[in-house]
Structures are given as structure tokens and as C-alpha cells.
């Protein structure tokens, strides 16, 4: 099946120049720019489907077109012909029958194609797979990297790093409502349903950053619940992972020290955790290495000090309905806090 799919791929491409072109132009979160085997299987299937369906569509329209073009015109006052006058209409019967048979065969072909793709998806080997438990919250992603040795596990949020060429098994769970994990470049969706555990196996072959976002309506900020998957060469990934396991170096810069103090003695410590400190609350993203992340608040903002300050001052202006309250800290305290968080490399 996969082979026939690949042979058909170029056909599909020309069979739908407009569509394909329009779509290929957009890599960021596109279904048609696979970066791993799973997504590639889906892309193959898409090509086959697109080819067949375009064919059928065109055929039907042509038939209608011809019918309209060759059928004589009349007006309402003209007497309608009756069955007995029309006779048996063998031609029509033959063409209708053959059309029905043809479409049935095509459908069967598509069913087979679909089932084979399913099998292909299930075939991803799990040899030395990386295990990550992803927990969805309103409205952010929590990730725990598992390890046989407990002390080598670590938490992060909203940005996953994975090694290229190595299968990844995601254990998916939800803390509140139903969410759906979706990184189009790597695989299709999988729902995270409270009270249930599901798994998703994927793999990235090219290094790169792939965006995904929650795909099941989950409330006010369903819109702003993105996650980034950074696929890196294994060595680079291991370096990153080791850095994650370590706690962030404590900045000696006085501003940061003051910020740390403010973090520990105000609302922050009620929800967030920073390894190496007493802050171990689990209601918001883990901030141990927050300064390393590309975005704030699950893709709401690029991670810059200015944005961070805006965000802490009033998250509700940026992500209305999010569970983080506005802050009434004096501006200088706020700046210190931002300096501290900025120091968490």
C-alpha cells in the first residue's frame, strides 16, 4: 500500500497543483509538511485520497456539464413525457450502473488504503523509546520526562525537546477537561481525557521546531494552548536534558536575589515550582528553567523581559480567562521579579 501510495504521490501533486501549492507554502503547523514517519504515512494517505477524490469530483461535474449541454431546452408549459413514452432507457441504466460499480470499487480501495495506513502507524518500533508523560491543564502543557532512575526525571512545560531518529512514547493525561494533543508535523491528534490514560507514539526524523496546539475545545483559552516540539540531534538533546535535571544556578546579582525573595513571599509561590527552592506548587508551569523557553504562557507571547513583565502585571489582558491572577506588586518589585525569572537559565 505504502509503495503504491508513494508512486501515486507525484500524480497527486500535479492532480492538485493549486491546492498543494497553496498549502505547502505554510510550514509552521501544516499537516502536509511531515517531519517524521507517522506524519509521513498520513501525508501519503492524504495524497491518495486527494487524487481519487479530485478524479471523482471532476468526473461528476463533467457528467453534469454534458447533461446540461446536450439536453434540449424547454419551458414549463411544455407537456412532460411519461415513463411509457420514454421507453426502457438502456443506455442510461448501463451508465448509472457502471458509475455505481466504479464508485463502490474506489471506496473499497480507499478503505483498504486507510486500513493499511493504520497498520503502518502501529508499526513504529519502540526500541529504546523516550517516555514522556504529558498532562494537559487549562490552558498549558505539563511534561514529565520519565527515567528508570527516579532522580533522573524532570519536569518542564509547553516546550518539548526530543531527540531525532528516536521513537517517543507520550503518555497523555488531563487534569481538568478534555484536551487534544496535536503536532501536525509529527502525528495526528490524540485526546487527553480526564480519568483516562492514552498514549501516542511518534518520531521526528528532521531536526527542527514543530508547533502544535490543543485541538479539542477546552474553554476560554483553547485558542492559546500551543506547544513547541524541538527535535534535536541526540547529543544536543542529551545536553539539554542534563541541564534540565540540574537546578538553575542562583544568580548573585542583587536585583535577582530580591526578585527571588519576592517570588517566595508573594502569590507566585502558591502555584509555581522552581527546583532548588521551596517553591514546589504544581498549579502553574514549572519555572526551573523558564528563561530558556521561547514563549510565555503556552505560546501567548515571545519570551522577552518586557513581555514577561506585561504578563505578570496583568495576564488577563493578554490571555483573558487564564488562571493566573493580575499582580498588584509595586513596579520595582515587579522588575526585580522579572530579573530573577530571567536568571533562571
Amino acid at each position: 500500500m505504502a509503495t503504491s501510495a508513494s508512486t501515486l504521490r507525484w500524480l497527486a501533486a500535479c492532480g492538485s497543483v493549486v491546492l498543494a501549492a497553496a498549502v505547502r507554502a505554510e510550514p509552521l503547523q501544516s499537516v502536509l509538511a511531515p517531519a517524521g514517519p507517522q506524519a509521513a504515512h498520513l501525508k501519503d494517505l492524504w495524497d491518495v485520497m486527494l487524487l481519487v477524490c479530485t478524479g471523482v469530483f471532476v468526473a461528476v461535474l463533467v457528467a453534469v456539464g454534458i447533461a446540461l449541454w446536450r439536453a434540449p431546452r424547454a419551458d414549463s408549459s411544455q407537456r412532460a413525457s411519461l415513463p411509457q413514452e420514454l421507453g426502457p432507457q438502456r443506455g442510461a441504466r448501463r451508465s448509472v450502473l457502471s458509475a455505481v460499480v466504479a464508485s463502490t470499487l474506489l471506496l473499497l480501495f480507499l478503505i483498504v488504503a486507510s486500513v493499511f495506513t493504520d497498520r503502518a502507524l502501529a508499526r513504529l518500533s519502540l526500541h529504546d523509546a523516550l517516555h514522556i508523560e504529558v498532562t494537559a491543564n487549562q490552558w498549558w502543557w505539563e511534561a514529565r520526562y520519565d527515567d528508570a532512575q527516579a532522580s533522573r526525571m524532570f519536569n518542564t512545560a509547553n516546550e518539548l525537546h526530543i531527540p531525532t531518529g528516536r521513537p517517543v512514547v507520550l503518555t497523555l493525561r488531563s487534569n481538568d477537561v478534555i484536551h487534544s494533543f496535536w503536532v501536525p508535523a509529527l502525528h495526528g491528534k490524540k485526546d487527553l481525557i480526564p480519568g483516562r490514560t492514552s498514549t501516542l507514539r511518534l518520531q521526528a526524523d528532521q531536526a527542527g521546531t514543530y508547533r502544535g496546539q490543543c485541538a479539542e475545545f477546552c474553554g476560554y483559552q483553547h485558542t492559546t494552548m500551543a506547544l513547541l516540539v524541538m527535535a534535536e540531534p541526540p547529543a544536543q538533546y542529551e545536553a539539554w536534558a542534563d541541564h534540565q535535571r540540574a537546578t538553575a544556578a542562583l544568580s548573585q546579582e542583587p536585583q535577582a536575589a530580591r526578585g527571588r525573595h519576592i517570588f517566595m513571599t508573594t502569590t507566585c509561590v502558591m502555584c509555581h515550582s522552581i527546583q532548588g527552592t521551596d517553591a514546589s506548587a504544581r498549579r502553574g508551569p514549572d519555572l526551573t528553567h523558564v528563561a530558556q523557553r521561547q514563549t510565555l504562557a503556552a505560546g501567548a507571547l515571545p519570551n522577552t523581559p518586557e513581555n514577561l513583565e506585561r504578563w505578570i502585571r496583568n495576564p488577563q489582558h493578554i490571555k483573558p480567562g487564564a488562571n493566573m491572577p493580575p499582580s498588584d506588586l509595586p513596579t520595582d518589585d515587579l522588575k526585580a521579579l522579572v530579573a530573577y525569572l530571567g536568571s533562571l537559565q
Partner: protein, 643 residues
């Protein structure tokens, strides 16, 4: 005047003017506001039904325009998430529960008796009651919306998001109660239609002579009866979870969130076909008329309709492929979802054959019907894609699906519906609609529609999820969204033109006469607009297109009472005359009962005790409704002796 109708008039045994007047007086609804409120005549109710449904259609469309306005450009601050969630929930709920299904039933409430040669629908009072319930339910929802109690958990209201913990307040309760309203109304209408079609057909209208539209409505009615209880059950359980703390959907106490999805989609998917099948019915009524020939492959068409009706119950799970279900099951539902394309294909090919071998009359109704081939076929094909588990995993819950469902529902139901309105408007009002405006309406709608929804396919493939109130500028979705918004605006304009056309033609449209299009089915054999009793004399049917058929004896039924409401019931299969049946007269009680029931439903949003206390007025009203009147009884007894 065209041949067919001449034939009928020439051959009819003209009932005396006296008889005609007597019949008119007997079947007319009483005058005045009170009479208006007690109306039971199926044409009066049907017209109100259609108007109300279109009212909700316009409202829902307006909400959609607001959404497109918000999405027209990235990071738009016009509408916040709270309102936006209410908007798309209201839009979906309105279109699915308050427009699409009811409008089809509305049209058939008006047309079916005319098409099968009967003087009324079965259970006319229940018919009125069903209408009032539907109206009050819709009003309740919109009053709630205006008061910021608009449901905001999506028209599918997935738990736990729609559950008590994550949807505080009464928003979702109003949604759930609206479902109760509309489903009650829908179920009653389904019963009415089934009985009407089975027992009230004109003599001689055997099963294989029933107009295809009526067949479609019959299949739909049966599907309604099997599918709707499922969602009523689900929504009642939801209300109980929220109001009295039951645990149907609470995994913590042995409930299950996925149970909701199964119950909902077991209704939700067939519902697509309640909307689509009547659309097919319209196609099969309009195409023959404008091809000047009977439909090609009548039997195949009927079988296809029935097959669709059965298969439609076998594919609800394809809405749930992303939940972790066993692979085997998924493959089965993939197959079922794809195979349902076959009956539709059969019908499409038969229509093409009909056009191919016919003589075409290009009027607005035909245009709308031809649009079906472009739009529905595309939607159907994307549907085939969605039916495939792996592919669905990528495009599920993206704008690809939004595009797909609008192609199917608008292409498969709304375009034919507009065609149907243009087609039967003269029958309802006695005047034709303006062809010029009609063409403007059509082309704007057609172009606007594709402009609005085709780009959504691409958006979906580019990874834009559904139900997002905004999107970042750097995602590359901006252009397509802008185009979509413009298209939506065009649709709005075309609908506006349609309304203008309807209103103006009602006063100044060209007079239609009984049969402006030379249609072949019975409704064209009576006056436009039809008299209160539909037919002065009940016709006897000899073919699938009686108006086109040459004259055959006997032509009419004699012996039905003229000064009391009496209808002829016939046998289910061969439509042999069966009995003469006295029919109920207009009364205010259906309205009162509907008001009481509304009180009960709305009350139970706030306290479970409403179910107990308001049940009393409901019971009272119902009792009054069914209280036998002596003179009616005497009259019918008298008739039994001497008709």
C-alpha cells in the same frame, strides 16, 4: 395553462359551489387574534413554522457574521473569548436544532398533505402544540443569550467542560433545556408525519407512487424517532448532573465522560441526515419538473433513501476517532462511513440521468438544485476523507471539518431548500418570486459560499483548529481567513436579497395559477394558495405523477361530509379507502399546554421541584385539550348513520 392541469380540471367532477363554501367554512381557522392563536390548519401552522425557522436561520447567520468579523484579521481584539464561545455555541445550536431540522419538518407539514391528497396532517392539534413548543424553546434560548446566559460549551457540550465544575452558572442548563424543547417538538412532528403518510394518502397512491419528497420525509421521521431519544437522555442526564448532583458523567463516581460523546453522536450523526435527506427530496421534486420527465430510477431512489436511513446509524464513532478506542472498531466505522456514500452516489447518478434524458427549463429553482452537484459532491468527498481514521486524526477538529460540514449541510440542504422555496412559493402565496432577484440571490450565495468555505479546507490543512477566537499573525492563516470573511459577507447580502424577494413578491409577484411550473405531483392540482380544505374533492391517484397522467376513472372520491371535519383514511400499502374519520377542530389548548410545558422546562433549569409543581398546570391544560365535547360526539355519531 398547461396540459397536465387542464386534464385534471376537465376530468374533475366539479363539486357544487355550495359544497366548496361549506368545506371552506368547515376547515377554516376561526378569525381574530383568538382564532389565530387556536389555529390548527396544517397550512397555517406550516407557514408559521417555516417563517420562525427562517427567523432563527437569519439570527444564526448573523452570529456567524460576527464570528467571521472577529476572525477576519489575526489577533483581533473585537470579541473576547467569553462572547466568542457563546457565539459559536449559539450559531451551531441555532442552525442544527432551531433551523435545519425544524425547517424541513415545517415544509413537510405544509406540503405533505397536499402532495398525498389529504385535507390535513394527522393530529392537527398536536401539530400546533409541537410548533408552539419549538417557538418557545427558541425564544427561551435567545432571551437567555441576550441576558448573557448564552451557552458557551459548544453545540456538542462535551463533558466535563459542560459539566457543573467547569461551566458554572445556568448557561449550559439552558442549552440542555433547549435540546429538550426542540427534540420534543421534533419527535411529535415525526409521529405526525409517519401517520399522515401511512394513513391519509389519497386512494390509489400506493407505496410506489408516493412522491420522493414524501418518501424522504418518511425515512427522516423514522430516523428522528430512533435518534432523538438518545440526545434527550443525554441532555437530561447532563441537567441532573448539574442541578441535583448525579454522577452520570463523573469518572470519580463511576460515570464516564465518553458516555456523553457516544450518546450525543448517536443522535448527532443521524441528525446530519435528517437535514440532508429532505434536501434530496427537494432535488427529486424539482429536477423532474424542470427536466419535463419523471425521475429516472424511482425504485432505486427509494431504496437509496432507506439504505441511507439505516447506514446513518452506523457511523457516529467517526466523530470520536481521536479518543482512544479499539482499532478494530475504528476500522468498522471507517468502512460504514465510507459506504454511506454509495446510496447518495446512486441518487446523484439517477438525477444526472434524468437531466441527461430530459428537456431542461432553466428557472431559479433549477439553478439552486444544480449548485448541489458542485457543493454537495465536494462536501461528500471530503466526508470520505474524514471517514478514514488516520486522515481524520490530522484534520479532525480543524477548519477542514468546518468546511466539510458546511459543504454538506449548506450544499446538501440549504441550497435545495432555497430552490424549494422558489419552487413552492407560488403554491403557498399564489404569486411567483422575481426571477431577476432570484438569480442575484443564487449567484451571490453560490460565489459567497465557496469564497467563505473553500479556503477553510486549506486553513484546516495548515493546522488551524476549530473554535479558536483568534490566531497569531505569523501562522500564515490571515489571508484565507480574510477571504472567508468576505465570502460570509456575500452570503449575508444574498440572504438579504432573498428576504426582499420574498417580501416584495408576496405583494407584487406575478400571479402563479395552480401550476406555474407544470409540476406532476398532486399539490399542483389544487388552487394556489390552496383552499382551507386543500381539495374540494379528494383525488384518486393512478400514477407517480398524477397531474401528468392521462385521465382515468374514477377521478375523485365522493361522500365525505362537507359541514364537519372529516378525512378519508386509507390502507398503508395500497392506499385502499379504509374509514372516514372525524378530525379535531381549532382550540386554544395546545397553546396553553405549550405555555405550561415551557414553564416546566424553564423552571426545572432552576429547581428540580418545578418538575413536580408545574406538572399540575400541564396536566390541567392537557385534560382540557382532550375533554370530549358532546355536540362533536353527536355529530360524528350522526355521520356514522347518514354521511
Amino acid at each position: 395553462m398547461n396540459a397536465g392541469s387542464e386534464a385534471v380540471r376537465r376530468n374533475s367532477v366539479p363539486p357544487t359551489a355550495a359544497d366548496a363554501q361549506a368545506l371552506e367554512a368547515t376547515w377554516r381557522d376561526p378569525p381574530g387574534a383568538m382564532g389565530w392563536l387556536s389555529a390548527v390548519n396544517h397550512k397555517a401552522i406550516g407557514k408559521r413554522f417555516i417563517l420562525t425557522a427562517f427567523g432563527f436561520f437569519v439570527a444564526g447567520g448573523f452570529l456567524a457574521l460576527l464570528m467571521r468579523l472577529q476572525l477576519a484579521r489575526p489577533e483581533n481584539k473585537l470579541i473576547g473569548p467569553d462572547l466568542y464561545n457563546q457565539l459559536f455555541t449559539m450559531h451551531g445550536t441555532t442552525m442544527m436544532f432551531l433551523f435545519a431540522v425544524p425547517v424541513m419538518q415545517a415544509v413537510s407539514v405544509y406540503l405533505v398533505p397536499l402532495m398525498i391528497g389529504s385535507r390535513s396532517v394527522a393530529f392537527p392539534r398536536m401539530n400546533a402544540f409541537a410548533y408552539w413548543i419549538y417557538l418557545f424553546g427558541g425564544l427561551m434560548l435567545y432571551v437567555a443569550f441576550v441576558l448573557n446566559i448564552g451557552p458557551d460549551a459548544g453545540w456538542f457540550s462535551y463533558v466535563p467542560l459542560a459539566g457543573p465544575e467547569y461551566s458554572p452558572g445556568k448557561r449550559v442548563d439552558f442549552w440542555a433545556q433547549l435540546v429538550t424543547f426542540t427534540e420534543l417538538s421534533g419527535l411529535l412532528e415525526a409521529v405526525i408525519l409517519i401517520v399522515t403518510v401511512f394513513k391519509l394518502r389519497a386512494p390509489g397512491m400506493t407505496l410506489n407512487r408516493i412522491p420522493l419528497f414524501v418518501w424522504g420525509m418518511l425515512v427522516t421521521a423514522f430516523m428522528v424517532i430512533f435518534a432523538m431519544p438518545s440526545v434527550m437522555l443525554a441532555s437530561t442526564a447532563l441537567i441532573m448532573d448539574r442541578l441535583v448532583g448525579t454522577h452520570f458523567y463523573n469518572p470519580g463516581e463511576g460515570g464516564d465522560a465518553v458516555l456523553w460523546q457516544h450518546l450525543f453522536w448517536f443522535f448527532g450523526h443521524p441528525e446530519v441526515y435528517f437535514i440532508f435527506i429532505p434536501g434530496l427530496g427537494f432535488m427529486s421534486s424539482i429536477i423532474p419538473t424542470f427536466s419535463r420527465r419523471p425521475i429516472y430510477g424511482y425504485t432505486a431512489m427509494v431504496l437509496a433513501l432507506i439504505a441511507t436511513g439505516f447506514l446513518a446509524f452506523g457511523l457516529w464513532v467517526h466523530h470520536m476517532f481521536a479518543t482512544n478506542l479499539p482499532e478494530m472498531g475504528k476500522s468498522f466505522f471507517t468502512a460504514a462511513s465510507m459506504l454511506i456514500a454509495i446510496p447518495s452516489a446512486v441518487q446523484i447518478f439517477c438525477w444526472i440521468a434524468t437531466l441527461w434524458t430530459g428537456k431542461l427549463v432553466f428557472k431559479t429553482p433549477l439553478l439552486f438544485v444544480l449548485a448541489f452537484f458542485v457543493i454537495l459532491v465536494l462536501g461528500g468527498l471530503t466526508g470520505v476523507m474524514l471517514a478514514s481514521v488516520p486522515l481524520d486524526l490530522q484534520v479532525h477538529d480543524t477548519y477542514f471539518v468546518v468546511a466539510h460540514l458546511h459543504y454538506v449541510l449548506i450544499g446538501g440542504a440549504v441550497f435545495p431548500l432555497f430552490g424549494a422555496i422558489y419552487y413552492w412559493y407560488p403554491k403557498i402565496t399564489g404569486r411567483l418570486m422575481s426571477e431577476r432577484l432570484g438569480r442575484w440571490n443564487f449567484w451571490l450565495f453560490f460565489i459567497g459560499f465557496n469564497g467563505a468555505f473553500f479556503p477553510m479546507h486549506l486553513l484546516g490543512l495548515q493546522g488551524m483548529p476549530r473554535r479558536v477566537y483568534t490566531y497569531p499573525g505569523d501562522m500564515g492563516w490571515s489571508t484565507m481567513n480574510a477571504i472567508a470573511s468576505v465570502g460570509a459577507l456575500m452570503i449575508g447580502v444574498s440572504v438579504l436579497i432573498f428576504i426582499v424577494n420574498v417580501v416584495r413578491s408576496r405583494r407584487s409577484g406575478e400571479l402563479a395559477g395552480s401550476d406555474p411550473w407544470g409540476g406532476g405531483t398532486l399539490e399542483w392540482s389544487t388552487a394556489s394558495p390552496p383552499s382551507a380544505c386543500n381539495f374540494e374533492a379528494i383525488p384518486v391517484v393512478h400514477g407517480a405523477y398524477p397531474v401528468w397522467e392521462p385521465r382515468r376513472e374514477p377521478t375523485h372520491v365522493a361522500g365525505l361530509a362537507v359541514n364537519s371535519r372529516e378525512v378519508l383514511t386509507t390502507t398503508v400499502l395500497d392506499a385502499e379507502p379504509d374509514t372516514r374519520m372525524p378530525f379535531p377542530t381549532p382550540t386554544i389548548w395546545p397553546l396553553v399546554s405549550a405555555l405550561a410545558t415551557t414553564g416546566l422546562f424553564v423552571g426545572s433549569v432552576f429547581t428540580p421541584w418545578a418538575v413536580v409543581w408545574v406538572a399540575l398546570p400541564v396536566a390541567a391544560a392537557m385534560t382540557a385539550w382532550f375533554w370530549p365535547k358532546r355536540q362533536d360526539t353527536n355529530a360524528s355519531v350522526a355521520l356514522e348513520r347518514a354521511p
